[in-house]
């Protein structure tokens, strides 16, 4: 195999590996968008909280990396549940004229609050949680850090679990029904208002899982969430808002595009490519790749 092709493929593989974890983020965001019809601007901060939860469980309490990830998922699920109940549900009680605008502003303010509240608690420095594995894995063309490969596999597993939940269980079917038509779902006897916190909790837990999985390699610090969030947002536009298939494929695509952007354009601008993707999608196909398809 020629050297340049090898290089190209190794960047693609790296992109796919990171893309799976982006997918976890984007899937959570898509679930929240589908059920609640808002973009959770604090998604990146739940990712950051997940990283910190993993750090506390695995390093401070010394329970090991697996407990770190589980701890992150469970803790942030309950935080998400609480946040939705306390801050977002009240907007939908019918007193406000444009509740979704205020809900957007609320998630934005929440993001700024969470970003700043962890500074006095954990300090401004970068923290790493316990790595999942030592050494690296040889994938034929390229050898990748074992932690990243395992993180990617865990991300696939979690995405599969969520898809299973959405397609097979009563809860998942209820969530999908609400995403399709809120009023019709309510008429069929689904308690719509009780589903909002559940969707928000699950969605934020997915972000936390992504944060916990990346905490050993990309480190966690107070502002670490905003980068992850901007990627998840780009995926949301790329995949077509609210489409689950779009979120997963969009995530893999963005991972590869970024990786190739680093190879061909400039590594410094890695995090601007997300915006370029949004611009291009809007100019060429404003509905996204899978826009308008069923949730």
């Amino acid at each position: 195999m020629p050297k340049s092709l090898e290089l190209f493929l190794s960047y693609v593989i790296n992109g796919l590996i990171i893309g799976n974890i982006y997918g976890l983020m984007a899937l959570g965001l898509t679930l929240i968008l589908g059920v609640m019809k808002i973009v959770n601007f604090a998604h990146g901060e739940f990712y950051m909280l997940g990283g910190y939860a993993a750090y506390i469980c695995s390093i401070k309490l010394g329970l090991g990396p697996v407990a770190g990830i589980l701890g992150a998922i469970v803790t942030v699920f309950f935080i998400g549940l609480f946040v939705e109940r306390a801050l977002l549900t009240p907007f939908y009680s019918g007193r406000l004229e444009r509740p979704s605008d205020y809900a957007l502003l609320m998630t934005f303010s929440l993001s700024v609050f969470l970003m700043n509240v962890v500074i006095p608690i954990f300090g401004p420095y970068q923290k790493a949680s316990a790595p999942l594995a030592e050494g690296s894995v040889n994938l034929g063309i390229v050898s990748v850090g074992a932690t990243r490969v395992i993180a990617s596999l865990v991300a696939i597993l979690l995405m599969a679990l969520l898809l299973l939940l959405l397609s097979k269980t009563r809860l998942g079917i209820a969530l999908r029904a609400i995403a399709q038509d809120r009023d019709a779902a309510a008429i069929c006897g689904i308690d719509v208002n009780r589903m909002n916190p559940v969707a928000f909790g699950i969605g934020t837990a997915m972000a936390a899982a992504a944060g916990a999985l990346l905490a050993p390699t990309f480190l966690v610090y107070p502002a670490s969430g905003s980068l992850a969030a901007s990627k998840a947002n780009a995926i949301l536009v790329l995949g077509g808002m609210g489409s689950i298939k779009g979120a997963i494929i969009g995530a893999l695509l963005l991972g590869v595009l970024e990786s190739l952007g680093v190879l061909f354009l400039s590594p410094g601008y890695r995090d601007v490519y997300g915006f370029l993707v949004i611009v291009l999608v809007l100019l060429i196909k404003p509905t996204g790749l899978f826009g308008g398809q069923e949730f």
Binding site: Y102, F113, N116
Partner: protein, 328 residues
Amino acid sequence: MKPRAKIIIGLLLSILVLSLPFWAGVYWTHVAILSLYYVIVVSSWNLLVGYAGQMSFAHVSFSTMGGYASTLVATRFGIHPALGMLIGMCVGAIVGYALGILCLRMRGVYHSLATLAFAEAFRTVLNLEYKITRGSLGLLSVRLYPGVSKTPYYYTVLVLAIGGLVVLYRIINSPIGFTLQAIREDQTAASVAGVPLARYKLFAFSLTSAMASLAGAFLAHYLGIVTPDWATQTAMSFVLAMAIMGGLGTFIGPVIGAVCVEFLAEYLRVYGRYYMSIFGLVVLLMLRFTPGGLLALARNLTDSVSYTRWVSKGKQMLATLQVRNKVE
């Protein structure tokens, strides 16, 4: 309130504002300059979001852009800062127009996502292009006036703020303002009624971006520095808090909000590293409990206190009941 009382209060207030640098001291004059800067930024954001309904998280990016553009032309080409501020304003208007074109194709959450992505990308570029912007160190700027006195700056920003508010007031109370509100309430209906959506939205975008850029350019020449920190989400949350505290979609609300929040922020500064978290908490609680802002809160309070209004409401209800009984 009686008209005479209104005039007296207005007079007292304007004397207070006009003479501020002479009795307030250097520090509070500085705070007043910052709050007038925020009055411009927040009021223009309010036109875009509160009146036209085009949610944007990129507003502070425009004020930062104005600051950088003005500083760059002033330091590189030796142009007078006042002219630089005009150039900064034009740059803001043009980029705002371009972002507006981009956002035309999207509605609701998509729209806010695109503006947020733009803001983040802009900040990243500022940080990375260190040859031009000196990255996170910030760019040193030329001061607008010689000397250390803050008084000329105060009057400059006062003129800018009053000028901006007059422009906004005239627009809001003109057919353009009503059309923008129609677009906010129902885009499709407005379009059916013959409103050229694109033209109005682009107008709102470029006008508000131009105002923010002008304010940002002024601030850069006042502080003598402009940094990428101006364009962070935290900075945007300040603008948001001010608009919400005053009352989104009201003319005077954001003005009151800007002044109140800026002074509140100065008082909270004593908490040091807890400062931003306390501020964030205040914003969250405010959004949660008084989403309509101080104006709505005041209105609700007077509503529940006002006895005569209750009586007239009761009479109205009685009358409708009687009519209904007669019909039946």
